[in-house]
Symmetry: C2
DNA sequence: ACGCTTGTTGAGAACGGTTGTCAAAGATCG
DNA sequence: CGATCTTTGACAACCGTTCTCAACAAGCGT
């Protein structure tokens, strides 16, 4: 239960710190491998899972169902505007939306309310790239 | 390309019409099978996909990644408050949220904006059931 | 009603992301 | 250093979903 700090976990955390965009476990694994820091794929999954459990990273699902991970600047609850092509991300918070969500749900007699509010789009860079 | 009306497709549509909750393709397949209307699993997937493309059904992803389908009353854009245990659903629209989402995204220079806004909770019935 | 054409079906294989297995490796503590 | 006990990694297993392809059946024209 002691959460040991191993070379592999350090490598995953460092990689996440250097990347600003949402990345899949497999992309991360590839990045580490290319960098010479060889880490097993299963280990990357486990590390990300642990970090997510500890709220150290944010997780969201791409449209195809793949899980994407990112180390966000703020640890408080917030949402994202993500480029569906490159993963480029802008953190967003919407106090209005939060209030709306919990009010609506409570009014219907629901408990343990959670909400998913994510925005997807094509960022300016990817748009420029696809035009050329 | 003509979209033929087959026994199988009719069965899927009818089953969806009778069910008020979000269901997975496999649940639907099981329901049809139990009902005597034997339909292949792949066919259920294809039918649901076609219906989704035609905006005849709404699709959303459960927390475990599974796709859930539902024939909604209104065809216009809306959101859902869904019980994560039984799939029981309340349709919701939030004009305020819509405006907020597109404004925020546009302000960041993003195009082709889509948003995912879903509420998950435990409905009153399921809460009562889990207490007992 | 009868073929013909062409989209559709279904059983099973294939796929892709993720998780489980388990012996070997290594982090931590005394 | 040694004992302990978590972590690792290669690989298999899983599970939802999609693909394959020969058999089948809608719908159309006659």
């Amino acid at each position: 239960m002691a959460a040991r700090m191993t070379r592999q976990r350090t490598a995953v955390v460092e990689a996440l710190d250097e990347l600003a965009d949402f990345r899949s476990a497999q992309q991360l694994h590839e990045t580490l491998r290319a960098r010479g820091e060889s880490v097993g794929l299963a280990t990357v999954y486990r590390a990300l899972q642990a970090l997510a459990d500890a709220s150290e990273v944010d997780v969201l699902r791409a449209e195809d169902g793949e899980s994407l991970y990112r180390r966000c600047a703020r640890r408080e609850h917030h949402h994202h505007l993500v480029c569906r092509h490159c993963g480029s991300t802008v953190e967003i918070d919407g106090p209005t939306v939060e209030a709306w969500a919990s009010k609506v749900a409570a009014a219907q007699g629901f408990d343990d309310i959670e909400h998913t509010i994510e925005l997807w789009g094509t960022c300016a860079d990817c748009r420029a790239a696809s035009v050329s």
